[in-house]
Amino acid sequence: MKASVIVFPGSNCDRDAAVALEAAMGRPPAMIWHGDAELPQSDLIVLPGGFSYGDYLRSGAMAAHSPVMREVIKRAKAGTPVLGICNGFQVLTEARLLPGVLMRNATLKFICKDVHLRVERTDTRFTGRYEKGQVVKFAIAHKDGCYFADDDRLARLEGEGRVAFRYCDPQGNVSAHANPNGSRRNIAGIYNETGTVLGLMPHPERLADPALSGTDGAKMFKGLVEGLAA
């Protein structure tokens, strides 16, 4: 299996994603500079976290227009799995590969902490190692993570089963109290129509190592590798 991690100026979780991918794949991913118009053959494309272009415009807005994104969009539309984490999720919404927007957190502050997520679907390439309704622990670290879409779009997302993860308490209850950033319906991550593009604010790569107080994130990468290698 071959994976590519896209590196924008200001990406800062590119190495973390590469470490988690290498642990799952047994080989390092290709690191692709944003200015490259060519993308190697990839079974998985990862848009990592960070502050692409400083996020001085809307988060992810500049990166969505990077040369490499034209190719990423083409591949995504052709069915190559794409995983956008944190800033990568913001880039995916700005690139219109995923609907909705990520607004400033309801607290107006940056928040870094572990959160619990309820796995809403288990039939995608990203969730092979999870069970439906399972509660997993990932970490968040963002200032613009409040997911917003209008009522119609939300209804469609829900109807099509495209909500990937929701913020919940350790027991799996989806409540306002467990919502760290004000996201509508506690949405932490969503899929595209085909379930091949996943954007999520929490960082699976940060809890993918027994030394880092959790390994739930590693299962996403392992599941991807098993599914894509098969």
Binding site: D16, I111, L212
Partner: protein, 735 residues
């Protein structure tokens, strides 16, 4: 555009922060009257901030050597050996004056500056910490300052992708008009590829990279070398503006170029910008330097030589390259979309020559700037030592657990979660011990080794007795590193004091240096880098002497690392060290008596080392399940913090007969730890402690969901947690 230089009048000299004596010295070493640009250059190079003219004679006395030290003070940061060809680069620096005037940008650029100091040496920054002192919670400016400083630190470090792993925060009325923002960065470097600032070689290209130069921050170093008064808010334009995105690009570009054989010397443009970086590089290399200011990338038009030489625009670096290496460097910096310009060369003239337009704007012997700066042996006086406070003279509480609940919810001890959750403390995926413990631990990437990091000082102790307080700061830092299982390696310091021209303030500085020297020597814990911030006073009222200590240690294997969380019901809690007895300057004293009085707790450095080495041995042999140092608030607060972290209650033993119970539980005696151990280990640990000459006593047993003490109502962990977590968010929320 080259207007004739204005006449240098006494008023102009005074505006530049130079005394008339200093101006006479300047004219003498120059052999003529300076141009305005030259006056500006001298004023920043001879400022307290850049020249250390008041502190230098004392700083020389600090112990700076040890087998682990690769680079002591004098470079951009200190370097210590981690074995296996790896080294840690670290330093702490103050950004006090700018942070008070403009808290967000002041704090942000402080973080940016200290990270540049570390990556200038070839190291990738892997952790940030900060030590913050704010005024009293009730002071009308405090909330505004906390919001600005915390978001400034967070936004800069978060964007850089360097985890901010901890620090400390105090609230004290004595900082009402002079807050302290001390930022520390730790980086990792290949021990064979450390970059320094000596520009050795003549005819080498001098290269400018990074952001463009603007008019921001002109005279920042001079501002940082003066007291505040009512008009200080007008100095806001001297505060620089940070751009962490550009710094992230600069970091990656510098580290990429450092893989090539291209750089002779590199220096970041921090305080006093282009002036200080060019002078220091040339002086250390024993060469002269010529700068062509027309080639400096500027973001504003019409900038004068004076403005360019004094600008403190951020995110800039100066490099001296090997001959012919310009194209390699240019390719790297263009890739990262940064400005790149060859702006001069090294010479054999021994002079700094600055050209702008057709004219020479400055022509100064480097020795005059770097070595002829005045060095002051300022007069100093000592205050009489305060008397010890007898525990019996401090009222006992009605309820020990009730007092604990109040204390742990007070501004002094309340959880700092509201602060550190705004810092990305996990990026780089190596933070194996997060904020909230004794020391943060960051794994050395790709290995099982850990770097332990802690920042410490207890200002109220230093105010009461600067020597004992400084000793305590070093000892507590050593203890915190020990408590996670690290071998303490070395420290950086941030010496924050008032106006050194006042003999009593200078006396505080002298005493603090002595106390640090005592402790660093006894604990083999040398100083490898640091910074001095003087004139932290407003209208003649100084801050408490605050020698902030940032220490690092090495955990050989993170599998054998201790944390403060209680892990198992039935584990015994053992006090290692003397029974609590000392309430002078304690948090309990403030609660019971409404203020701090008397002498601070003395530090017995031999006992400190004995206890620490013993505890570290227990951690290494995996005989203890949790460890916590005993500091602010004493034994009972330490018990409560271990209980909260582990979500496990403790049934406490009664205090020994014949001792005041409130002193046993709340005394802030030094050199002490609390360890938790399985019941079958506990007896052995107690015996071995006695054999090693270290007092030890079983003080409780982990179990249940409350703290229990005979004769008192149990204190539920849930109540304790509410008290601990409530204060700061409520305060910041405005209620």
């Amino acid at each position: 555009m080259n207007k004739p230089s204005p006449k240098i009048t006494p008023d102009l000299v005074a505006e530049h922060g130079l005394s008339s004596d200093e101006y006479r010295l300047l004219a003498a070493v120059l052999g003529r009257e300076p141009s305005l640009t030259e006056l500006g250059i001298f004023s920043v190079m001879w400022s307290e901030h850049c020249s250390y003219k008041s502190s230098r004679v004392w700083l020389k006395k600090l112990p700076t050597k040890g087998p682990q030290v690769i680079q002591g003070p004098g470079e951009n940061a200190g370097v210590v050996d981690l074995g296996d060809g790896q080294a840690a680069v670290f330093k702490m620096e103050s950004h006090n004056h700018p942070s008070y005037i403009e808290p967000y940008q002041g704090a942000a650029t402080g973080v940016g500056g200290i990270m540049r100091d570390v990556f200038t040496m070839g190291a990738r920054p892997v952790a940030n910490m900060n030590a913050l002192r704010f005024g009293a919670a009730a002071h009308p400016k405090t909330r505004h300052l906390v919001v600005g400083v915390v978001s400034g630190i967070g936004d800069y470090g978060n964007c850089m992708g360097v985890p901010t792993v901890g620090g400390e925060t105090n609230f004290d009325a004595r900082y009402n008009d002079n807050i302290l923002v001390n930022a520390m960065t730790v980086g990792l470097v290949d021990a064979k590829r450390i970059f320094k600032s000596a520009a050795k070689g003549v005819g080498l290209p001098v290269v400018y990279v990074g952001s463009k130069t603007g008019r921001d921050g002109i005279h920042g170093a001079t501002m940082a070398s003066a007291e505040f008064d009512e008009a200080s808010a007008e100095k806001r334009p001297t505060v620089q503006v940070g751009d962490p995105f550009t710094e992230k690009l600069l970091l990656e570009a510098c580290l990429e170029l450092m893989q090539e054989d291209a750089i002779v010397a590199i220096q970041d443009m921090g305080a006093a910008g282009l002036t200080s970086s060019s002078v220091e590089m040339a002086d250390k290399g024993g060469v002269g330097i010529e700068l062509e200011l027309d080639r400096v990338p500027t973001r504003e038009t019409g900038m004068t030589a004076y403005e360019m030489m004094l600008s403190e625009s951020q995110e800039r670096m100066l490099m001296v390259l090997k001959p012919g290496a310009e194209p390699i460097a240019e390719r790297v910096f263009r890739k990262w979309e940064l400005d790149f310009a060859v702006i001069g060369c090294t010479t054999d003239s021994g002079k700094l020559v600055v050209r702008h337009g057709a004219a020479v704007q400055a022509d100064i012997p480097l020795s005059a700037l770097a070595h002829a700066a005045p060095v002051y042996e300022r007069p100093w006086t000592l205050r009489p030592k305060a008397a010890l406070v007898a525990a019996e003279d401090v009222p006992a509480p009605n309820s020990l657990l009730g007092a604990l609940e109040t204390m742990i919810g007070s501004p002094h001890l309340a959880s700092r979660r509201w602060i550190w959750e705004q810092y990305d403390h996990m990026v780089m995926a190596d933070t194996v011990q997060r904020p909230g413990g004794d020391a943060a631990v960051v794994r050395v990437h790709g290995t099982d080794k850990g770097l332990a990091i802690s920042c410490d000082v207890t200002p109220r102790y230093c105010a009461a007795d600067p020597r004992e307080g400084a000793k305590q700061a070093v000892a507590e830092c050593w203890r915190n590193l020990t408590a996670v299982g690290a071998d303490p390696l070395a420290i950086t310091d941030c010496m924050n004091f008032g106006n050194p021209e006042r003999p009593e303030i200078m006396g505080e500085f002298v005493e603090a240096v002595r106390g640090m020297t005592d402790a660093c020597t006894a604990l083999s814990f040398p100083v490898v880098s640091g910074n001095v911030s003087l004139y932290n006073e407003t209208n003649g009222v100084a801050i408490p002497p605050t020698p902030a200590i940032g220490g690092i240690g090495l955990v050989p294997d993170i599998a054998n690392m201790a944390t403060i969380a209680l892990k198992q019901d039935g584990d015994a809690l053992i006090l290692i060290g003397l029974e609590g007895s000392h309430l002078g300057q304690s948090l309990y004293q403030e609660l019971a008596s409404g203020g701090y009085e008397g002498a601070p707790p003395p530090v017995d450095l031999a006992a400190e080392r004995r206890a620490g080495d013993f505890v570290r041995g227990l951690i290494r042999s995996s005989r203890v399940s949790a460890v916590h140092d005993i500091s602010d608030g004493g034994l009972l607060v330490a018990v409560a913090e271990m209980a909260l972290a582990g979500g496990r209650g403790v049934t406490l033993e009664a205090a020994p007969e014949g001792r005041p119970a409130h002193a046993v539980w709340f005394g802030e005696d030094q050199g002490r730890y609390l360890v938790a151990a399985a019941p079958d280990e506990a007896a052995g640990i107690l015996q071995e402690a006695v054999k090693a000459g270290i007092p030890a006593r079983r003080v409780g047993t982990a179990a249940g969901e409350a703290l229990k003490l005979r004769g008192e109502a149990p204190l539920l962990l849930s109540s304790l947690r509410t008290a601990h977590e409530r204060w700061l968010p409520r305060f910041m929320g405005g209620s």
